[in-house]
């Protein structure tokens, strides 16, 4: 069984003036194929940094990462990323955006046509495939992002607040879509979010991180993602367990934020 393994990873940013930020400290994590893990944590606790390291955009100062036994040293097609926004190629049509990965991989248009058109169907953008991306709404653009990532058939999909910029209704639809695609494709997914609800709904596993230094605070195993496939997400939110877990995590993050605030207030006085 193939896995993504993150082994004792630390990340220190030198700020140049002799100071440094310990963005991550001794993070160890193992993800099996097909797992969907959501990551929560107060702002600045190193979530994006962790994702960038897994994607290969950053090299950790300490520790090792590997995917299926192969060390991660640079970005690669086996680890796809869905950005929050603004990462689509404005100069291409919707369809060309989705076809970008296969095309870069050397496939001919005939080879990737089926995959691309299928994905455009799945995300409901078949009618918009010839449009330029700047002609689409924010929600549609995120669906293009998702389809573009999936077209490349990555082993691991990394999402950094992919739905953060969407309105509540679009967001809910996109959450269902993510769950559906996750079940259909069986990909490993790491999803960063600021919404506790979203983390609970989508994550099989839920990682809560703590700041200063960024580290894993607590991990949960959750049933809601499996329940949510093909179901009405609003029904699941009424689940009593859902509410108790949400309250627990909210107060935990609240405490952490409070601690940060208190600490910086103390430092300034």
């Amino acid at each position: 069984m193939s896995t993504l393994s993150i082994d004792d990873v630390s990340m220190r940013f030198d700020l140049g003036n002799g100071e440094h930020v310990q963005a991550l400290k001794n993070v160890t994590l193992e993800l099996k194929t097909g797992e969907l893990m959501s990551v929560l944590g107060p702002s600045g606790c190193g979530k994006t940094t962790l994702l960038n390291i897994v994607a290969g955009f950053l090299a950790p100062t300490e520790g090792k990462l590997s995917l299926n036994g192969v060390p991660i040293t640079e970005p690669g097609a086996e680890r796809g990323m869905v950005f929050q926004q603004g990462a689509l190629f404005d100069w291409m049509s919707v369809r060309d955006n989705v076809a970008f990965g296969p095309k870069m991989g050397g496939q001919s248009p005939a080879e990737y046509a089926e995959t691309v058109d299928h994905l455009l169907d799945v995300v409901g953008l078949q009618d918009f495939k010839q449009k330029a991306v700047y002609e689409l709404s924010g929600g549609m653009q995120q669906r293009v992002s998702l389809a573009r990532c999936l077209a490349n058939k990555p082993d691991v999909i990394l999402m950094d607040e992919p739905l953060g910029a969407l309105d509540a209704l679009t967001r809910e639809k996109m959450q269902s879509l993510v769950l559906k695609l996750w079940k259909e494709t069986g990909r490993t997914i790491i999803l960063i979010t600021h919404s506790v609800e979203e983390a609970l709904l989508l994550g099989e596993r839920l990682l809560v991180m703590a700041p200063r230094p960024g580290r894993i605070h607590k991990e949960y195993q959750l049933p809601f993602a499996d329940l949510g496939v093909g179901a009405d997400l609003r029904e699941i939110k009424k689940h009593p367990d859902f509410n108790t877990t949400r309250e627990e995590i909210l107060s935990m993050i609240w405490d952490m934020e409070e601690e940060i605030m208190g600490r910086s207030e103390g430092a300034s006085s």
Partner: protein, 421 residues
């Protein structure tokens, strides 16, 4: 001064007239008309078509009015043309006085002058006849035929009944008289408000000149050849500048070594106006085509380099990251992400560069050339052929404008995503 006042008046009248008519006749139903806030909303301000048309028309009409054009209905008062006369009183050394009349014929500018036949009249002061062209003045040697000369102590004391002495002036019909320090009378016919053709020819002369030069050529080359050569130099120089500058800019945007190596050169050369290079280029390459093309190459090179460098720096890092994690190689990133993403910047640079090149080529031709738009107007100005100069300026402006419109249109077509990402 008068022109400026008339211009501002026309501007204001046209503004209120069009406002009034437009509000009456045309009901607007577009989105902008529903905006309540237009002052300060830049997108609600589009050029008013009527204003543009009236603006061009106003300039044309003013031009015609001040040059007595056949094409415009209204003219400002022109210079006096025709026959006029004035009288002077001569005082002889012995104190006796006599008067005489000076007949003046003012002929239109550029036409042969002729005198009025007169009789000498009686008394010791005799009548005179002089001729002058419009806009010019004439010294009246009134005592030449008189019985007492100035040398003998005779002097003019009155003109048309008003006393006059050296340095003073007297208004007469259709002009004025100034007495010089030596006591001669200088007749200056009324100039009116119109411009002399040598300063500003009427529009029809300029158009005639265009037709003439288009058919017969000027200085061994036809009009089309003059303009074509200028344009060709610009295009060759610009293309060379772009072909070298864009890759250089990319290299500077992508490699620290290139950036470090070329930064001092580019930053140093950028503020040097291309015109300042003309003397050096003439020394190095002479006044032939090579020199001009080197000059235009240098003019566009730095602009294109900086534009391409800015284009690369402007690529959002998330797009590059996205492309990498979709499996693109470095070359593919270059080809599919960096190149298209920098196109808007490069187009902006190209527009600026074309403008600068066009200005530079004209200036270089003013200095030295055998053919070209700049050379044409320079030679014409030496012979005071104002109509050719004006024609040249209008054509140079029109071509520069056309180039810019062309660049903007192709930009809209090629980089439709500009400013929308």
């Amino acid at each position: 001064m008068i022109v400026l006042i008339i211009y501002i008046t026309v501007f204001a009248i046209a503004f209120f007239a069009v406002r009034f008519i437009a509000n009456r006749l045309i009901e607007r139903h577009d989105f902008t008309s529903l905006k309540t806030v237009t002052f300060g909303d830049e997108s609600a301000v589009t050029p008013n078509r009527w204003a543009s048309i009236l603006s061009v028309l106003t300039i044309f009409l003013l031009w015609g009015a001040f040059t007595n054009s056949n094409w415009t209905p209204l003219h400002v008062p022109g210079p006096f043309v025709g026959d006029t006369k004035f009288t002077y009183v001569m005082e002889a050394p012995n104190g006796s006085r006599d008067d005489a009349t000076v007949y003046v014929r003012v002929s239109p500018a550029g036409e042969p002058k002729s005198k009025i036949e007169t009789e000498l009249g009686d008394g010791f002061a005799k009548n005179d006849s002089v001729s002058v062209s419009a806009w010019r003045s004439v010294l009246v040697a009134m005592d030449k035929n008189d019985e007492f000369k100035r040398k003998q102590g005779a002097k003019v004391v009155e003109v048309n009944g008003s006393p006059i002495s050296p340095g003073h002036r007297v208004q007469v019909d259709d002009g004025e008289i100034v007495m010089t320090s030596k006591g001669t009378l200088n007749f200056i016919p009324n100039k009116g408000l119109q411009m002399e053709p040598i300063w500003l020819p009427p529009p029809e002369n300029v158009v005639d000149r265009v037709v003439e030069i288009a058919q017969e050529g000027y200085q061994n080359f036809t009009l089309l050849e003059h303009l074509g050569w200028s344009l060709l130099r610009v295009i060759v120089g610009f293309v060379l500048g772009a072909v070298v500058g864009i890759p250089l800019g990319y290299a500077m945007g992508l490699s620290d070594w290139f950036r470090g190596w070329f930064d001092p050169i580019v930053e140093f050369m950028r503020p040097v106006p291309p015109l300042a290079l003309i003397p050096l280029v003439i020394i190095w390459a002479g006044i032939g085509e090579t020199g001009k093309i080197i000059l235009l190459f240098l003019a566009s090179l730095w602009i294109m380099t900086i534009a391409a460098r800015a284009g690369v720096s402007g690529v959002k890092i998330t797009k590059v990251h996205a492309a990498y994690s979709l499996g693109a190689s470095k070359w593919q990133i270059m080809r599919y992400v960096i190149a298209p993403n920098s196109l808007p910047e490069i187009f902006t640079g190209a527009r600026v560069a074309m403008g600068v090149c066009w200005g530079t080529v004209v200036a270089a031709e003013l200095v030295a050339a055998e053919k070209g738009a700049g050379m044409m107007i320079m030679v014409a100005s030496r012979f005071q052929l104002t109509d050719i100069v004006i024609m040249g300026i209008i054509l140079i402006g029109a071509i520069g404008y056309a180039i810019d419109i062309l660049m903007r249109k192709s930009e809209d077509y090629l980089v439709p995503w500009k400013g929308k990402g």
